[in-house]
Subunit: 105 residues, 3 copies
């Protein structure tokens, strides 16, 4: 039942939630987890017209388990290409996850 | 002071919080972290009688550091056996964590 | 564009948020993510005068991506030295992260 997986993490602005969820869906991932997050990035401004934010939890963090590295990179590339010029964001990967139990993965 | 560890992640429905916390305790883990989460899994229905959910943060994500893989698998097996037939859930593992500082681990 | 990184995770009490954020900033990290968390640690008491807490989300979890292990250890050492005698906390590291996209890392 155990299965190797990659975990893609995307931290970005909350207003992108639905658009990024759509990209993840369309890439074929079976699911994702989202949590509200605060934080600080390398930019002083989070989005056009907004002041610099501190720790007010206006960000979101996506975690997506993918069956392979390629799907994670594909999602990340599309998210970055569409949004990271205009919005704060980081995408990173951990390749050594092991899925123990899931309905379907 | 540094110590190798496994990190078990369980994402499931919020109503299982106390029951899963009890399983983690009884397995001998010294602690866990819980965050509220939204997301989408491979099932359209989260729990009996509930409609499909989107990103409304009705899930929880547990993170448990265990001193070895066996304890993590034991917790995961018990949680999956008890709940994953009836509730949404995924359990996955990362084996390459290193604990730097803790009161007791 | 891909770059290896370490991910430092610090889970501790919420009232330390600003002090820890300052330590992370001063260590030269380009950013961090914070989420609210509940949980249970190896201590029955979270901070002086407070009762034991269950899952009431009075903790915070920092995640910091650092370009190398040394910066992560430095942050962790300073946080632990300053706060972990008096407050609940754990710091752990994952050394196998890969940054796919970021404004600056």
């Amino acid at each position: 039942m155990t299965q190797q997986a990659s975990k893609l993490v995307i931290v970005t602005e909350k207003l992108l939630l639905k658009k990024i969820a759509k990209i993840i869906d369309e890439a074929g991932a079976t699911g994702y987890t989202v949590v509200e997050a605060g934080g600080k990035g390398s930019r002083g401004v989070r989005s056009p017209g907004k002041p610099s934010v501190g720790d007010d939890f206006t960000n979101i963090k996506f975690e997506v388990l993918t069956p392979n590295r390629d799907m994670a990179v594909k999602i990340s590339d599309e998210v970055a290409a569409k949004f990271f010029d205009d919005y704060s964001g980081i995408a990173y990967l951990c390749d050594v996850m092991e899925v123990l139990h899931a309905h379907k993965f």
